[in-house]
């Protein structure tokens, strides 16, 4: 099959279509996912081709969407829920943490909860309040949920299909800033990596940079800039946030002795905190410097005119790399 150039939005749209073709039990639910194809057009054309019973425009109520999806899953369906923006997942938070996450445990495995909750996340699109949040840590802290974040078009295509095929509930984070940004070559024959595996996306020897979703691009840029200054950064795209795939991370940090974690979420109790704790527990004697964290500040997301000051960028990553190397 010939390769084709696709955006992340296209990859997700193709992946959803493929999943719906492969399994008639797959349903899409959410606000404006039908005729409109979602505000980001990720479900574009799917209602036209699969009908209103499989691509379901819902009333404006997130708890209602997720709560009814639980019932559909109990009836044997595989609902894929779209949350319109990260900041609007919270009305559904109770259903997600108390029901979606716990039903398998509560029923001792008699019930499965094969649900995917898609959340466009992160900032950088010049939006108003509540449209640029990074809620991943709150879900990763919740046992029973799996949490993944894609960072590129090809992963988008494969990971959404793998998440839908997973019998556990998966919080699926999509870096909205990348939806229509860079294109990549999709070669369907190549096939995917396992869903719950992290990936070294650039090899290096001096410092390990851990990123996921929107910050993978930031980290890659930083690595290029660093290379120009003769510094070799290894970049790992975590891809899975719960469970974490620590093996490649530990292997890398044992070599470099230094790690920098970057994400858009608040630093305080963000993924960086957990990664720092685990790396320190497991590589204590290899560490030349403490794990440093570059993230969103511990403030609400600011007005968009200064969001680039709030968001980690390559300079702040390089600054952390310098500080790490200075230890």
């Amino acid at each position: 099959m010939a390769t084709q150039k696709i955006t992340l939005a296209k990859g997700l749209n193709m992946g959803l279509r493929k999943a719906m073709e492969d399994d008639p039990k797959v349903l899409i639910m959410g606000e404006d996912v039908g005729k409109l194809g979602g505000v980001f057009r990720i479900t574009d054309g799917l209602q036209k081709d699969f009908g209103e019973d499989r691509v379901i425009d819902s009333p404006l109520a997130e708890s209602g969407i997720v709560g009814t999806a639980v019932g559909m899953a109990m009836r044997g369906y595989r609902p894929v829920v779209e949350i319109q923006f990260d900041g609007f997942v919270y009305p559904a938070y109770d259903q997600i943490v108390c029901q979606v996450a716990k039903l398998q445990f509560r029923s001792q495995g008699k019930l499965k909860m094969p649900m995917v909750i898609r959340i466009p996340f992160g900032g950088g699109i010049g939006a108003v309040e509540h449209h640029s949040e990074s809620p991943e840590a709150q879900f990763a802290h919740t046992p029973g949920l799996k949490v993944v974040a894609c960072s590129n078009p090809v992963d988008g295509y494969w990971m959404i299909q793998q998440a839908i095929a997973c019998d556990d509930p998966v919080i699926f984070l999509e870096p909205k800033r990348q939806y229509h940004a860079d294109k990549a070559d999709l070669d369907e024959d190549a096939g995917p990596d396992p869903l719950f595996q992290s990936r070294v996306v650039r090899q290096g020897t001096d410092v390990t940079v851990l990123a996921y979703g929107p910050t993978v691009k930031t980290a890659m840029k930083a690595a290029e800039a660093a290379a120009a200054e003769g510094r070799s950064l290894e970049v790992i795209d975590l891809r899975t946030l719960s469970p974490l795939d620590m093996a490649p991370v530990l292997e890398s940090v044992r070599r470099t002795g230094r790690a920098v974690v970057t994400h858009e979420a608040h630093v305080n109790l963000g993924m960086g905190a957990e990664l720092s704790a685990r790396i320190t527990e497991q590589c204590f004697y290899s560490l030349e410097a403490p794990v440093l964290r570059v993230g969103g500040f511990d403030t609400p997301y600011p007005p968009s005119r200064i969001e680039e000051d709030y968001l980690p960028d390559l300079d702040r990553v390089l600054d952390a790399v310098d500080r790490s190397l200075a230890f």
Partner: protein
């Protein structure tokens, strides 16, 4: 303007004396005195070729056994065998009437108090005790009897029920006219739950998709210490009118009326006519749970007033007065109740405690390496005490 600003319901009327016993809209087919009465829209119909007296005797038996489950469990809690128990005393007719109106293919989403419905679905009452004893969180298979797990977060199950009903629609199991195929869902919740966003959103979704679901609300007049007036200032069944589907108030202490109304609502759902709200007007005769102390917030007079409406007594009077059951029948039911009591007492104490390492099971469909490592470390830690006594405790 003062004239114009003077519109809206008269609240005095709403909770005035006329309401005390459910008001004129209360659907009743068997009075507290055990008299059968007619209702323009609903009549008790046990179904084609089924003996009516036989059915009513069955209801009596169901209610007696259900009450016995409740009294035994309450006693087991007093003896420290259960951590807590949610009593249903007084709500037997509401639960048996609803439970017996179901067909096998229907699905039930219960609260934590639906012991009578569970019994109707064929769930071993013993398995209900595990959750209250703290050995599990509901050990029955929801798909074995189409009876979901007890849900403790108030109102959450109303949405699950609606979604399940939407699944039934997608399976083409609504309005086909095939009585073996068409299915409905019943969502149980209480008067207090009617205030939760989730329950109201369930009304929205059910109406929007015309889902085959019956919202069965046992208005037992109390949400722990809060009276129904805190949740609504109009009769609760009228809530449905705001969402565009019918609401009915039935005498929840009248098993015949509850059966008739619920059966009609379920059939309406199976026929593809959408959701119905059924308010079973009843009273929580016991405490909220065994840890509650109702004397802090309610008068004994109310309880006495409702004692006269006991759901079981009125059926016994009806059966005896009309010579439809004799002492041998009542004795037999009593014996069955004693057997059940024995089964629960012995069974409860025999319920095995879960193994510590089971904490890690079924968090995911397959244990993650991360969790397996945590389990193994804990196993090694536990092993390190073998022989030695763990000092333990916090």
């Amino acid at each position: 303007m003062s004239h114009q600003s003077d519109f809206g319901p008269d609240l005095v009327e709403v909770f005035g004396p006329s309401q005390q016993d459910g008001g004129p809209e209360l659907i009743q087919l068997l009075t507290p005195e055990g008299e059968r009465v007619e209702h323009p829209d609903f009549s008790f119909d046990p179904g084609e070729g089924v003996d009516e007296a036989e059915t009513i005797r069955g209801f009596y038996r169901d209610m007696v056994l259900t009450r016995r489950i409740d009294t035994e469990a309450t006693a087991l809690q007093r003896h420290g065998e259960l951590g807590i128990w949610a009593q249903l005393l007084g709500q037997e007719a509401a639960q048996i009437g609803a439970g017996r109106a179901l067909r096998p293919q229907d699905f039930v989403f219960p609260t934590y108090r639906e012991h009578g419905v569970a019994y109707c679905r064929g769930v071993d009452p013993l398995s209900l005790l595990g959750l209250f004893r703290g050995v599990d969180q509901g050990s029955w298979d929801p798909n074995a009897n189409n009876f979901g797990l007890y849900t403790i977060v108030i109102g959450a199950q109303a949405l699950h029920a609606t979604g399940y009903a939407m699944g039934i629609q997608r399976d083409g199991a609504v309005g086909t006219g095939d009585p073996e195929r068409d299915a409905a869902v019943i969502a149980h919740f209480g008067d207090g739950a009617s205030s939760q966003g989730d329950v109201n959103e369930a009304f929205i979704f059910a109406a929007s998709y015309n889902a085959p679901v019956v919202f069965f609300c046992q208005n037992n007049q109390w949400a722990i210490s809060e009276p129904i007036e805190r949740q609504t200032r109009i009769p609760l069944y009228q809530r449905a009118l705001g969402f565009g589907f019918p609401g009915l108030r039935v005498d929840g202490n009248d098993v015949l009326a509850t059966y008739a109304v619920t059966k009609a609502a379920l059939q309406r759902a199976r026929d593809g006519q959408g959701p119905t709200f059924v308010e079973a007007y009843t009273y929580r005769m016991g405490a909220h749970t065994t840890t509650d102390d109702p004397t802090r917030y309610r008068l004994n007079d109310d309880v006495e007033h409702w004692k006269l409406k006991d759901p079981i007594a009125r059926v016994k009077v009806y059966l005896t007065r009309n010579g439809l059951a004799d002492d041998s029948f009542f004795d037999k039911v009593q014996d069955e109740a004693d057997e059940l009591g024995h089964h629960l007492r012995e069974g409860c104490k025999a319920l095995p405690d879960p193994k510590p390492l089971s904490i890690f099971d079924h968090v995911y469909s397959e244990m993650t390496d991360e969790l397996a490592a945590q389990r193994d470390a804990f196993a090694a830690y536990l092993a390190s005490f073998e022989g030695t006594a763990v000092s333990g405790g916090n």
